[in-house]
Structure formats: C-alpha cells, structure tokens
C-alpha cells in the first residue's frame, strides 16, 4: 500500500497563487498548526479560503489574514477575528457568508460528487443575495451549489501511512467533510501509525480521500481561554 507520509518541503511546493484552500476547524479547534505555518511561509497570495470561521487573530487560520494572503473567504462567521473584520471593511478581503449548516452541506456535496442540492432554508434576503430558486410541490427551494477546493488542510489525532484517519473529540467538526472535497487533501497528524495499528472500526475518514500525511509539530498558539 502506498506510503503517503511526506515532508514539509514537498508540501511547500504544493501551494500556488490563486488556489482555493479549505481549512478544517471550528474556532481554531481542529486547525492544523504545522500546515498553516507552511502555507504562510509559502507567501502565496490571492487565495480563496473556505473555513467555518476566521478563528482568532493569533490562532490557526486567523493568522493568515495579517499578511494579506487571502483574497476571498467563504465562511459562516468572523466575529472572533476583528482583524478579518477590519480587512473586510477596508475592502482587502471579500467575504461570502453562508449559514453554517448550508456551508457544510455545500462542501459535503462537493465531496460526494453532487454539483448542487436543494434547501428550504431562507437566507437570501437576510444576506442580500440573489439566489436561484425553483418550486417543487408548492414549496420554494433554493439551489445551493457545491463547493470544492484545490487543497484541503486537515488535522487528525492519528493517521496511518495510507491516510486512514482518527479525529479527537470536537476537533472532528469540519474535517471529514473537507477531506472529501479537495483535489489534494493534506493531513497533519499528531501520530503516524503503521498499517493495522488503527482498528478498521475506529477509522473516521478512509485513506482513499487523503493524498499526503505530515507529522504535526503541535499547536504553536495559546488558546483564547488560556
């Protein structure tokens, strides 16, 4: 079986200007610290980022906004990151807000090979959006388009060398969905195990969705509550 464990140098080479990058995590929990550091060092720009939120200014994805790498952000919430808010108001960052569950389902659709799905959650007016709709059985339904990315950056507690993944506690959040929705899925794992060391029953994302695995250097930020 293929060994997907890779090096920091190899990963740096995968980042290109203008890519669409999904980053797993919620409020920083589940953001991959080592991969985000590599992305920041790559000095790529004009990125479109898809993430649940903008974390905090010095935690996880939040750090990418200080050096203007991100041109567009597709997200549900940026309230915990005033820096992202400032960039948005200054016009340096385009933000597309999407309700959290719709955002996740759009990513899931991207991952499972569905170009779009229908929903009866009304938010077009609230967000001042033009949304395509159709009527089925007297119900107005909105067309929600799938989201895909060039690269997904995922954090896992454990991975084996095929990329079978185990996530810890609430750090699961967006990871299994985003892992399916990118051309290249890169995983940062706290532990990399031999085949067979992860029990088939405990695998939460099968390695088929994963392209590369990197050993984590651990969280290099202080949590908001510390």
């Amino acid at each position: 079986m293929i060994n997907k464990e890779t090096t920091e140098k190899y990963i740096r080479g995968l980042f290109k200007h203008g890519q669409t990058i999904m980053v797993g995590g919620f409020g920083g929990i589940g953001n991959p610290p080592t991969l985000l550091k590599l992305l920041k060092q790559s000095s790529t720009s004009s990125l479109t980022m898809i993430s649940n939120d903008a974390a905090f200014p010095d935690i996880g994805v939040g750090r990418l906004f200080s050096n203007n790498q991100v041109k567009q952000l597709i997200t549900s919430h940026i309230g915990s990151n005033p820096l992202a808010g400032e960039k948005m108001l200054q016009g340096d960052l385009q933000v597309e807000f999407c309700p959290q569950g719709i955002l996740m389902e759009r990513i899931r659709a991207g991952g499972v090979g569905l170009p779009a799905f229908l929903s009866n959650i009304q938010y077009a007016e609230a967000l001042n959006l033009e949304k395509e709709k159709i009527e089925i059985d007297d119900q107005v339904l909105y067309i929600e388009k799938a989201l895909k990315a060039d690269i997904a950056l995922i954090y896992a507690k454990k991975s084996d060398r095929f990329g079978n993944l185990f996530y810890e506690s609430t750090a699961i959040n967006t990871a299994p969905v985003m892992a399916m929705a990118a051309t290249i899925t890169i995983v940062e794992a706290e532990e990399i195990l031999e085949l067979g060391e992860l029990q088939p029953n405990e695998i939460m994302t099968p390695g088929i969705f994963v392209n590369h695995v990197l050993l984590s250097k651990g969280v290099d930020w202080k949590w908001a509550w510390e």
Binding site: F26, I29, G85, P99, E105, I121
Partner: protein, 219 residues
C-alpha cells in the same frame, strides 16, 4: 448588557421550565448560555452544540480544560455520560432535520408576528450568520432570551423588525428581564411579569401591542 446576575438567574430558570424531560436543547451564545447552569440534572436534558457535541456538560474547572473539547462559542466544555462527538454535517442533520426540541437564542428584535432579527446591525460590526438561521427555522420550539430594550432604551419587541431578519414567524416565546411573552396567531400575549416590574412599566417599554393573558403571573 446591564443585567444583574439575579435577573439573569430568573430568566434562565424560567427558560429551563420550557424544557420537557429528556429533551434535546441548543443554547445560543450570550444570555442563553447562562441557562446551562440552571438545568436540573434529573430532567435528563441533552444539550447540543453545533460544532459537534450532543450531551454537553458543565464548564470545566480551571486547569482541567481539554483544548479539543470546546462548545460553539469556542470555549472549553465537558461531555456527559452518553454524550457524543460528530462532524458538522451530522450536527446540522440534527438541526435541519428537526431533531432539536428547544433552541434558546439571543435577539436584537422580535416582531408581533414572531419574526426574529438577531444577526446584524447594518453599519456596525459584521460577525456573520453562523448557525442561527437554521436553528431558528427548524427547532421545534424557539425561545428568545434578551434584554427588553436596547442600549438606547428602545424596545426590542417591535411591531415590525427594522433590522435584517434571521427568520420569519419562528419565535414561540420571548423571555426578558421584565416579562414572559408568548407568540400566538393572535399576536403577542403577556403572560408573566418579573418582579419588581409593574404592568405599566412593561407596557411602556414595549413598542409592540401586547394582549394581556387573563391571569398574569408575577414572579
């Protein structure tokens, strides 16, 4: 927000009465998050957090936080026996699928029709819409827990919402520091008043028309 802890406690305890035994409840951030501390354990309530917890427990003691166990506000929490962790699509399967019995959210405005505005004040800080829209539209019962008036003293219970709506006709009940108001087809029914407020004070500080319940309970 200007509320004292005793006022918050009264509101939270009142909100807790709306939870049936063994029900599934989602609490929003801000005022609703205080309700956690007033849920009687023997009721078997399970709290859902939209980042992926069912069976959320109490806040951990300082020094016992697990960075990988946080609630939707991004702060450390714990998990009860029988609780589970799951990904965001499963979390919203619970919400959009209609499995949440009670959602308690904060509010900026609630109208006579039960419309809710709670996510944006145009021209002010924009945080994003988060998970509130789907909770508001799909929870079986939606309770709004908020101050009666805004910082400028204007009523937050209004004839028509001026702020962009989160969802139309979704609110079942409003709990403020002054009163408990039910939303029905007839409009807004004033059912309870918190002491020391008087009926006159409640009516004066409410822009929307209220009709009075035959028996108004004073708490």
């Amino acid at each position: 927000m200007g509320l004292g802890i005793e006022q918050i406690k009264k509101m939270a305890q009142r909100a807790e009465l709306e939870m049936q035994r063994n029900s599934i409840v989602n609490l929003g951030i801000g005022l609703p998050s205080y309700v956690t501390d007033y849920i009687r354990p023997e009721k078997g309530i399970m709290l859902q957090a939209e980042n992926g917890i069912l069976g959320m427990g109490s806040t951990p003691k300082k020094g016992y936080e697990d960075p990988m166990i946080c609630h939707a506000g991004g702060l450390p929490t714990t998990i009860q026996k029988g609780g589970s962790f799951f990904d965001s699509t499963q979390s919203f399967a619970m919400i959009r699928g209609g499995y949440i019995d009670v959602a308690i959210l904060g509010g900026l405005e609630v109208s006579e029709q039960g419309d809710l505005a709670n996510w944006i004040i145009p021209g002010k800080k924009v945080s994003g819409i988060g998970g509130a829209i789907e909770l508001a539209q799909k929870a079986k019962k939606l309770i709004i827990m908020m101050t009666h008036q805004n910082k400028n003293g204007q009523s937050k219970i209004v004839k028509r919402c001026q702020l962009p709506l989160t969802a139309e006709k979704c609110v079942n009940m409003i709990i403020t520091e002054k009163a408990v108001i039910h939303v029905s087809k007839r409009g807004l029914e004033l059912k309870e008043i918190f002491l020391p407020y008087s009926l006159e004070e409640v009516l004066q500080s409410t822009e929307a028309s209220l009709y009075l319940s035959p028996t108004i309970l004073r708490r």
